[in-house]
């Protein structure tokens, strides 16, 4: 089976939809309780960019609700297609949609119900979304079943300072749970702060296993991944509740929403509902650091390494800075040719592209001589070379880390392209 490589795809607006009379965004907008005179909902929503990770029964309801409010842009990421069982829980799926990518279908629905929203579909995991696009978001929804995906979203949002809302359900008790992380302060809680060791273990088990593990192989080959066991009403309720609370956050209605977990269990006791504050766990294993964002004046590939260091305020003599490039580029110190033996490479290589030796054989890399982050001591002879000359022609961002602080450098043209 051919490997599926997800691509971010912008949906074209259908002419049929264009011809429909387009109501004003604010035509049904109420005068919200707790609204501020300096916040114009129409203007805020007109600029709002939202990302949804996980377009299942909860995420689909959530984002469709938001799409009707006509935000500026929506990106929908989900790596899976619909299964027949999706009909049982998902309010936006019909038999004709089975086996389509969830991201594509929900994006199409969003493009139909909104008037001016740019909708992008990404039939892949959130972790594979271009980080330059994630960085533009004002709000992220995470509605997945996988804890590892929750942590991926949390890391990106924490480093870039983007508010995140997690919407989940527990079907047997009719319980929905909305967790909100403002990410306004790096000292605040992250989702991992309040996870149990068992949950963290589940996140670790989601990752690559040992290839020699008999049980693991059987699991990967045969066992069904976790599915949402719930009913459509509960999934829709969680999604809509998330969308409702996003309005409170972005329109700054009433008191700011604290980092909290809102739980309501319909079948536990009729009155069971709680709002639980989420506090930072000092022993949290996640890196809570906030990256400083620095825009570049031209595409990353045109910058010399020394210029990138200067842009992040680091003296190029400082030996303890470390450079990493985005979009799957890694620095290869040494490659191995099966015929010619080891060869120095000293360039950035995309992990998506195979390379060949001069003799024609495929050059292979090994984990020990391939660096995700390159220390300046390794790059020193190449400080005045451009990123493109070092092999990373299509990298759209760089991260320079120095003394525990990270500087995130990216470039955008007038139309929002990153030159990658």
């Amino acid at each position: 089976m051919a490997e599926h490589r997800p691509k971010l795809r912008r949906l074209e607006r259908l002419s049929r939809i264009k011809s429909v009379a387009t109501p004003e965004r604010g035509a049904r907008m109420p005068a919200f309780l707790g609204s501020r005179p300096d916040v114009d909902p129409d203007r805020v929503l007109g600029r709002l960019q939202v990302i949804l990770a996980g377009a299942g029964s909860v995420g689909g309801s959530c984002i469709l609700s938001i799409a009707r409010q006509d935000p500026r842009a929506i990106i929908i990421a989900d790596p899976k297609p619909y299964k027949p069982e999706s009909l049982l829980t998902n309010g936006v799926v019909f038999p004709r949609d089975l086996h389509r990518w969830k991201a594509d279908h929900v994006a199409k629905c969003c493009a139909e119900v909104s008037r001016n929203t740019w909708v992008d579909a990404f039939a892949g995991g959130f972790e594979d979304l271009p980080l330059t696009r994630v960085a533009d978001a004002d709000f992220i929804f995470c509605c997945t079943d996988r804890i590892s995906a929750e942590l991926q979203v949390a890391r990106a949002a924490m480093h870039l300072g983007i508010p995140v809302m997690y919407c989940n359900v527990e079907g047997s008790s009719g319980l929905y749970q909305i967790r909100y992380f403002a990410n306004s302060d790096p000292q605040d809680a992250c989702p991992a702060c309040n996870m149990t060791p068992a949950e963290l273990g589940m996140a670790a088990d989601d990752g690559p296993g040992f290839s020699c593990e008999t049980v693991g192989e059987e699991d990967r080959a045969g066992r069904e991944e976790p599915v949402t066991r719930s009913i459509p009403a509960l999934c829709g309720l969680a999604g809509h509740m998330g969308a409702l609370l996003m309005n409170k956050v972005v329109l700054r209605l009433g008191q700011p929403l604290p980092n909290s977990c809102m739980v309501e269990g319909t079948f536990i006791r009729p009155e069971y509902a709680a709002v639980i504050p989420l506090d930072r766990n000092k022993g949290c294993i996640e890196d809570h650091s906030r990256w400083r964002r620095r825009p570049l004046a031209k595409p990353l590939r045109g910058h010399a390494i020394r210029e990138l260091l200067e842009a992040s305020g680091i003296n190029s003599d400082g030996g303890d800075a470390v450079l990493g490039l985005g979009d799957g580029f890694r620095y290869v110190v040494r490659g191995e040719c099966p015929r010619c033996g080891p060869r120095p490479i000293e360039r950035f290589w995309s992990k998506r592209r195979n390379r060949r030796c001069r003799c024609g054989a495929e050059l292979r890399t090994n984990a020990f001589h391939t660096l995700d982050a390159v220390p300046l001591s390794v790059l020193r002879p190449q400080l005045d070379r451009r990123v493109a000359a070092l092999g990373a022609t299509s990298a759209s961002w760089a991260l320079i880390r120095h003394h525990g602080a990270g500087t995130w450098l990216s470039w955008k043209d007038a139309e929002g392209g990153d030159g990658s």
Binding site: E336, R364, N366, P375, G404
Partner: protein
Amino acid sequence: MTKQEPRRRLSSLRSMELSPDRQVALEGIVQACPDDRNTPWGRRKPAEVTNLLRLDQLAPPGRMVIRAIDASGALRIALALRVKCPAVRPDGQIYVADQAELGIILTDGCLRGAKDSVAVLVFAPALFHSNAAPPGQLPIQGLCLGDASVSMPVAALGCAELVLLLYSILQLQTVTIDPEDPLRVANPEAARYWLAHRDQMPLDRTPFLAPVEYSGGATP
């Protein structure tokens, strides 16, 4: 009266003071580490390096030689271990090598117990070991930690403990040799060979802290 050298004990590893030259080396490595010292990974790396340098100090001369330590991203350690290990020459002749050149990679996934957070590569010799894929199959042979990785949370082990574990794996003290279980052995041919030559296993019973005898092979 001459001062008697205290007996070397692994139990003293965590409390040993580093020698001045190792202390200088540690400071250099820690200085080059870009992580926030307040983060768990930022604290874990210096602790791992400290313990590894302590093990190096505790080990008899020549038992291990640390070639390089890079703590700028994942913790990467290149070291030579003086240990008898099964190897194969290009002509297929099996022999016992005296030394292994190893690369150890420890990523921050070890904090979460991720299975892929520890990797061990063998740069030399070409191992004929049931825990390592046959030479030439991969650019550089990787060493599977075998049953030890299932029974122990290897990701939670420290680098110093990992070096001791590798010492026993390379000596064929801790090894998987059941060729009927091909998913658990990386080199079934080596497993069959060593099953037939069980009388030669382990290749050596010399403890890690015992003095090193130099008898040919590569020099440290």
